[in-house]
């Protein structure tokens, strides 16, 4: 029995104000891929994808190209086929033929086309307010709504941007999620007069045929955000009256095939007739539209791939050798029924004999902090390099890669030191580690990663600082204890790619799923990058990587329960699955506001459990205020970047945009003028210098960038999101 699946499981398109586009990268930290106007990947003479060289239109630094999400259908033969293979036009399979006349049959057929359907929507304005971690475990009836004055259900449904579903196939290769482009569907769009930019489309679909592979291209919006009345921004995540053209939604497909229909005609003569039918791809996908990735080559401290891997490992028996029920074999870890799953989730644990592979599972975590020096200045005054990966550095690649040999383990203390300063579960509100040295009990280094957490803002369930996932911490603990393999030295000495398992584009279905997600932010979620904390809620998944699709009615997408209950219309319900717009509705509106503010957060650590201390209240002892500026996600929202000319010169990335609410509003119309950060080698010979340098900034619109320290025009990087 062949199972068909769409890959990637979650695709990522990105906004752009240009009509030109490129394809989403399918490897962590890889540049996007060039394509033609139908979305056919450009390949070099060795068959490798050609990477983009320019993120903006030729000659117009104000036009940011869009990133398209590409989807393909894979076939899996049998239960043990983990990789699958992409199907081609002309391939033969045995299909399930649904027929009103004969009941379900199995017929051999030949693929002639794929009929794709996508439904994008934006539900942000219709949803609840973002209140940090409040709501993560369910919204109380008192939880405030965005646009709270709109309580009449039909009016509130008008806050949803719903262009309706669109279908494409080779026979109809284009479609638009535009106003007026879906006859017969009750579309809802924002008022035409929102400013500064009206939203009239959420994007477009294309199909293309490349080497007989038929693929879907999904394009998102143009980065248009606007508000009714006079546009002002007063909050990082909730701004009433605003709309943007971010969106998400289900991607489904039907395989169109030809088969031989045999019958006996009225004269009793056997006849054969070629007929066409189609079969639903059993495992569908989802597409998310996010804002541009300005630093595409630097993965975040925790990528969404890593965050979901952690969920899949601990909740979905994804890798029993790592986390499962002893003896950790795959056959012993295949729960089927609900009851078996409950037992599995109670009994499963990390395998203390799991030996991570250094270059596949350890080094990607350790090497990242050092690269953030291209997007943040860790030590503005002294210029020290705490994450140095060279010989003698804290993160010395060579020393840390050596497992114990024949019982000798000279790097044990070094690894233990790194492991001890990692922020563990339960230490989300701690700034420093406990004593880690017997010689000096006062030596309490800062816990890592030193990044802002899911809630450094309100006093409800604070999580001031970010930490690695449970699975990452387990792998690092194994590593620190000497339980790891240097796979390059032990197994793959001759393989040049061995130090980067992602050197080549993935060919397996799950490889594509993971490679795509590796370019999305995996935390902290406050509310988040492309997506918020909803994405790491196991309840939204039907299988590892796969969003659970809901069944919904045209023109009746769900509303928050207090409103839906007024007219008995469908209320949002995670148990029933997700509808179009249900992933992105949790993040800020418009996206530009939070994006602009996610530089650093001034986090008060005076009291562990409290973010906000009421200095003015009477009767309380005067608190001592201890606060530090902690960055959010340097690779996702760069702060201090380096110029290519003069190479390495530091400037504020968002120079020209003020660091206040007015700057947030500036971001709404100026995001397209900002520069991208790209790996470059400048100069030549002895003067050659390589690094991740800024490119394609539109100085004409924003003025020349400003070096750190020159704090005119409000360029303080001390900023705090407020409640």
């Amino acid at each position: 029995m062949t199972t068909f699946k769409i890959h990637p499981a979650i695709g990522i398109a990105r906004l752009g104000n240009s009509d030109q586009f490129y394809l989403a990268p399918e490897q962590p930290g890889a540049l996007p891929v060039e394509c033609d106007e139908q979305g056919r990947e450009t390949v070099d003479d060795q068959g490798r994808p050609v990477r983009v060289s320019s993120f903006k239109e030729d000659g117009d630094l104000s036009k940011v190209k869009r990133q398209a999400a590409r989807f393909r259908v894979f076939a899996y033969e049998g239960a043990n086929d983990r990789d699958g293979r992409e199907i081609k036009i002309g391939d033969s399979f045995t299909f399930t033929l649904e027929s009103n006349v004969t009941g379900r049959q199995r017929v051999p057929g030949t693929v002639t086309d794929i009929l794709w359907q996508v439904h994008l929507a934006n539900k942000k304005a219709s949803w609840y307010e973002f209140q940090e971690t409040d709501g993560r475990h369910g919204y109380s009836a008192m939880h405030p709504l965005r646009n709270p004055t709109v309580t009449q259900p039909d009016q509130r449904r008008q806050l949803i941007i719903d262009p309706g579903p669109q279908s494409v196939s080779l026979a109809r290769p284009q479609a638009q999620f535009a106003q007026g482009a879906n006859p017969g569907y009750p579309q809802t769009f924002p008022p035409a007069d929102i400013a500064p930019n009206p939203v009239t489309t959420l994007g477009a679909l294309k199909v293309n045929k490349q080497d007989d592979y038929q693929r879907l291209i999904v394009l998102g919006g143009h980065g248009h955000s606007g508000a009714t009345g006079v546009p002002v921004i007063s909050d990082f995540a909730n701004n009433d009256g605003w709309f943007d053209d971010i969106s998400d939604g289900p991607v489904t497909a039907r395989i169109v095939y030809e088969y031989e229909f045999k019958f006996t005609d009225a004269n009793g003569k056997p006849q054969t007739q070629i007929k066409t039918a189609n079969m639903t791809v059993q495992v569908p996908a989802w597409v998310v539209v996010g804002y541009p990735r300005f630093v595409p080559e630097l993965p975040d401290m925790v990528t969404l791939d890593e965050a979901l891997y952690d969920i899949n490992v601990r909740r979905f028996a994804y890798q029993p050798a790592l986390f499962g029920v002893p003896p950790y074999t795959s056959t012993g870890n295949r729960p089927q029924s609900e009851e078996q799953w409950r037992i599995w989730r109670n009994d499963a644990r990390y395998n203390a004999d799991y030996y991570p592979k250094y270059y596949a599972e350890i080094w990607p975590i350790l090497k990242r902090p050092d690269t953030y020096k291209y997007v943040f200045d860790f030590d503005l005054f002294e210029g020290s390099d705490p994450h140095n990966t060279g010989t003698g550095g804290n993160l010395d690649q060579k020393a840390l890669s050596q497992p114990p040999m024949k019982g000798e383990d000279p790097n044990y203390q070094h690894r233990q030191f790194i492991n001890k300063i990692l922020r563990a579960p339960g230490q989300e509100n701690l700034y420093r580690s406990g004593a880690i040295s017997e010689r000096d009990p006062n030596y309490r280094p800062r816990l890592m990663p030193m990044l802002s957490g899911n809630n450094p803002i309100s006093n409800t369930a604070p999580e001031k600082f970010f930490r690695l996932t449970d699975t990452q911490l387990f792998l690092l603990k194994q590593w620190a204890d000497g339980k790891f393999v240097n796979e390059c030295e032990e197994w793959d000495q001759d393989d040049a790619d061995c130090k980067n398992p992602w050197a080549e584009p993935p060919t397996s279905g799950e490889g594509i799923d993971r490679g795509v997600l590796a370019n999305l932010l995996g935390g902290a979620f406050c509310p988040g990058g492309e997506l918020g904390w909803i994405i790491i809620n196991p309840a939204i998944y039907s299988a590892p990587w796969r969003i659970h699709h809901a069944i919904y009615q045209a023109g009746a997408l769900s509303l928050p329960k207090p409103i839906a209950d007024i007219d008995g219309s469908p209320a949002a319900n995670l148990d029933a699955g997700l509808e179009p717009g249900d992933l992105t509705k949790y993040i800020g509106i418009p996206w530009q506001a939070d994006f602009h503010e996610c530089t650093t957060q001034n986090i008060n650590i005076t009291f562990e459990d409290w973010n906000n201390i009421e200095l003015d209240s009477t009767g309380d002892p005067a608190p001592q205020t201890v606060a530090y500026d902690i960055p959010w996600w340097p690779a996702h929202r760069p702060m201090v970047v380096q110029l290519a000319d003069p190479a390495g010169a530091q400037v504020y990335w968002s120079s020209g945009l003020s660091d206040n609410n007015a700057g947030d509003l500036q971001m709404v119309s100026e995001w397209n003028n900002l520069g991208f950060i790209k790996y470059q080698t400048v100069g030549s010979g002895d003067d050659a210098s390589s690094g991740y340098f800024q490119t394609e900034r539109n100085d004409k619109a924003l003025g020349a960038p400003i070096p750190p320290g020159q704090r005119q025009l409000g360029q303080s990087n001390r900023r705090k999101k407020h409640v």
């Binding site: 950790y328 004999d353 040999m405 024949k406 339980k483």
Partner: protein
């Protein structure tokens, strides 16, 4: 034979396998590099946390022998006789202590309350884990060892955490090589021991030549398979146990003449008995050997028509118990007449203890055993020299007494202060304990020879006379209302007495001041226990003796169909089966053969010409067999063209043009008669093996069938021409007489010899 070159040890072979598979490039292996080179490194290395050789557990099959990491008994596939080292806790020991007070359970007779052994036996396989013998799979030391887990590609070496071992290897280690390494580990990882001499390829006598061949085929690819199928390459005879071969092809189990058992088959039998002896302290435990011996004491039938059927069932149920331990075991038979010539010369009353019995039941010593004897301090220098000499000679003695005499150690007795009866002296007992440990088939109260006129020892002609008896009464005995001995039982009686014999030193007890020595004494009785139907079944040779009785009956049944006991409904306590149930050995799952040689083939590849390599038929088999038979096993029949199959012996060039008339090499021709398929897709595919106990349907239409051809005349003719080995050859012809390659699909060819 040049004795200068030390034979390669099993560890050498293990190293050789791993070196060869690894090839030139040796990865780090976490700094250990080729960790198997040095025995201590191999045993202590933990490769990324995985013990390459697991530490020995108490529950290991051989862990009881492992204090010195030396091997004594056997391993999971083939116990061996020549263990080098002895061990204090000898499960086969004749008696518990040298203090002379204990009565060893193995020779405890009826009515004596046994003393429970000090250490609890734990060798019998059971359904639950953790408390089982070596066959329970997941508890053996090798199964816990990373090298075996890794070579097999099992978790965590299944790619989830580590790749399969060996890493970056030149080739994969084959299944038979892995088995060899596993057996070496289960034997306690001896650094220095000898593989069986008759084993040429790997795992001692177990070397599954068939497996090796198949593994070889995989390596060599399709070419070899094709070459085998068209007769360009010779099929080899399997080295596996006969019953294993039979199981592979759905055949009956075979009871073979004891001299035809290979080292592995003999080892399995000995190991099973050694285990059963350990339970002798538990009177009601059916895993105890003595439990079975006592059944004869209490229930045996003699002197009337139930003698043959009762003993057939007695052997059947005992054999079933052995097969619980190891399903490949069947009871061997002792063909008395093979020893007629030598015994007619020595079988005399004047001088007892001169008879000759099959080698498997004799006793011997090893140098390691002598070293242990030396440690007891019971022997003089001269005696030790004598003991060492017989150990070095490798000679096997027909009785313990003869071994003592040859070593110059006097057979001495002591008086048991409790019973007032004679017991063995410490010096005698210690030697007997070693004999029993080395060979669980040996028995101390056995002095073969003597008792009666030498002419009573049966010759082949005497057996032929028996077989010629035309009616059941004369052959098998009378019914209860008119009972009398049958002729076969009478011959059997004589052989009981021959096997037990007379104890020449019975009256030595009087020298100890025992006025009237007990003739039924446990130690130093008047006669061997085989002579006494009260205790006869305690002697392991009893079972081979009765197997032969049963075989002669089975052969007689073939010659005289319809001749059977009068009362087929007679019950036969303690068995649940009636006389009628005992009539067919086939229904009880076995047949008798002198020896059997199997050529495995690749099912699914059509054979046009089959060439067999020399089968290595033993000289004695060629000389003594009565009938030779070529069998074609599991010939596929559904939707396959009909053909003629010509069978030749010693005719490697045989083809379609080879004459069949006046050709002494031609055995015969069979024709197939198949049908074409009338069902849906895969209707003609091989049916699934039967697995349900309650499946009462007849043989499946498409179940592959077997052919048998009598090759006796052909073998006789070739032997007369001087042939000293035989090989089987097939030529497959279509109905048009031309060679075909899509008509014969078989699981194997065998050459079988019956007495």
């Amino acid at each position: 034979m040049a004795a200068s070159k030390k034979p390669a040890s099993r560890f050498d072979r293990v190293r050789q396998i791993l070196n060869d598979a690894q090839g030139d490039h040796v990865p780090d292996y976490q700094g250990y590099r080729a960790f198997w080179q040095d025995i201590e490194t191999f045993k202590s290395a933990r490769l990324y946390g995985q013990w390459m050789i697991a530490p020995a557990n108490h529950g290991d099959g051989n862990a009881k022998l492992e204090s010195s990491d030396e091997q004594v008994g056997g391993s999971c596939c083939g116990g061996q006789a020549d263990g080098k080292n002895a061990d204090d806790k000898n499960p086969n020991a004749m008696a518990g202590s040298s203090a002379g007070l204990g009565q060893g359970p193995a020779v405890d007779a009826v009515d004596i309350e046994p003393t429970l052994p000090a250490s609890q036996p734990d060798c019998w396989p059971t359904g639950d884990d953790g408390h089982s013998g070596h066959r329970s799979g997941d508890t053996s030391r090798s199964d816990r060892s990373g090298i075996i887990i890794g070579l097999r590609g099992q978790s965590p070496f299944d790619g989830t955490i580590f790749p399969r071992l060996l890493w970056s290897a030149a080739r994969e280690v084959t299944e038979s090589e892995i088995t060899f390494i596993a057996q070496w580990i289960d034997a306690g990882c001896p650094a220095d021991d000898e593989p069986d001499k008759d084993s040429t390829d790997g795992p001692r006598g177990n070397a599954p030549a068939g497996n090796a061949l198949i593994a070889g085929q995989v390596r060599a690819g399709q070419d070899d398979i094709r070459a085998l199928a068209c007769g360009d390459m010779a099929h080899q005879v399997s080295g596996r146990c006969t019953n294993d071969e039979m199981d592979q092809r759905g055949g009956l189990h075979v009871r073979k003449e004891v001299s035809s058992l290979n080292a592995e088959e003999l080892g399995r039998l000995r190991e099973a008995l050694a285990c059963m002896y350990q339970y002798n302290g538990y009177w009601l435990d059916e895993r105890s050997f003595d439990f079975w011996a006592r059944i004869h004491t209490n229930s045996c039938q003699h002197g009337w028509e139930q003698f043959l059927p009762w003993h057939r069932l007695y052997l059947y149920f005992f054999e079933q118990t052995l097969q619980d331990y190891d399903p490949l075991i069947t009871l061997p038979y002792w063909s008395w007449t093979d020893y007629a010539d030598v015994n007619r010369d020595t079988y005399q009353t004047e001088q007892p203890d001169l008879g000759v019995i099959p080698e498997a039941y004799r006793c011997w010593l090893t140098e390691a055993a002598v070293a242990q004897l030396q440690d007891t301090g019971l022997y003089s220098k001269k005696q030790l020299t004598g003991l060492r000499k017989i150990a070095r000679s490798g000679e096997k003695f027909n009785s313990g007494l003869r071994l003592l005499k040859a070593a110059g150690v006097p057979y001495t007795l002591a008086k048991d202060p409790q019973t007032g009866q004679a017991i063995w002296s410490d010096a005698t007992r210690a030697v007997y304990n070693q004999c029993r440990r080395l060979n669980p088939l040996w028995f101390p109260n056995r002095w073969p020879g003597s008792l009666g006129a030498p002419t009573h020892y049966p010759k082949p002609a005497n057996v032929d006379q028996l077989l010629a008896i035309p009616n059941w009464h004369d052959f098998g005995g009378g019914p209860s209302e008119d009972h009398h001995f049958g002729a076969l039982e009478q011959m059997h009686n004589g052989m009981h007495n021959f096997a037990g014999g007379v104890n020449p030193f019975f009256n030595d007890a009087k020298k100890l001041g025992i006025a009237s020595p007990d003739p039924q004494n446990f130690e130093n009785p008047a006669f061997g226990w085989m002579t006494d139907n009260r205790v006869t079944a305690y002697d392991p040779i009893f079972w081979a003796h009765h197997s032969n009785v049963d075989r002669i009956w089975a052969r007689w049944q073939e010659l005289h169909p319809g001749q059977q006991p009068g009362d087929l409904d007679g019950s036969q306590p303690p068995w649940s089966l009636t006389v009628g149930d005992a009539l067919s050995t086939r229904k009880l799952g076995y047949e008798y053969m002198r020896d059997s040689y199997h050529y495995p083939t690749t099912q699914g590849v059509g054979i046009s010409r089959f060439k067999g390599a020399g089968a290595g038929v033993k000289r004695q088999v060629l000389d003594t067999h009565r009938r030779a038979e070529v069998r074609l096993h599991r010939v596929r029949r559904a939707n396959i063209p009909n053909c003629h199959i010509r069978v030749f012996l010693n005719s490697p060039e045989a083809d379609a043009s080879t004459p069949v008339q006046e050709n002494p090499h031609f055995v015969g021709e069979v024709s197939t008669f198949h049908g074409s398929c009338y069902g849906g897709p895969r209707h003609c595919a091989l049916p699934l093996p039967r697995s349900r106990d309650n499946d009462l349907r007849p043989l499946h239409h498409h179940e592959p069938r077997n052919f048998r051809l009598d090759a006796s005349d052909c073998v006789r003719a070739l032997c007369a021409q001087g042939a000293d080995d035989l090989s089987v050859h097939l030529v497959v012809l279509g109905l048009d007489g031309k060679p075909v390659d899509d008509a014969l699909f078989i699981d194997g060819v065998s050459l079988n010899f019956m007495d």
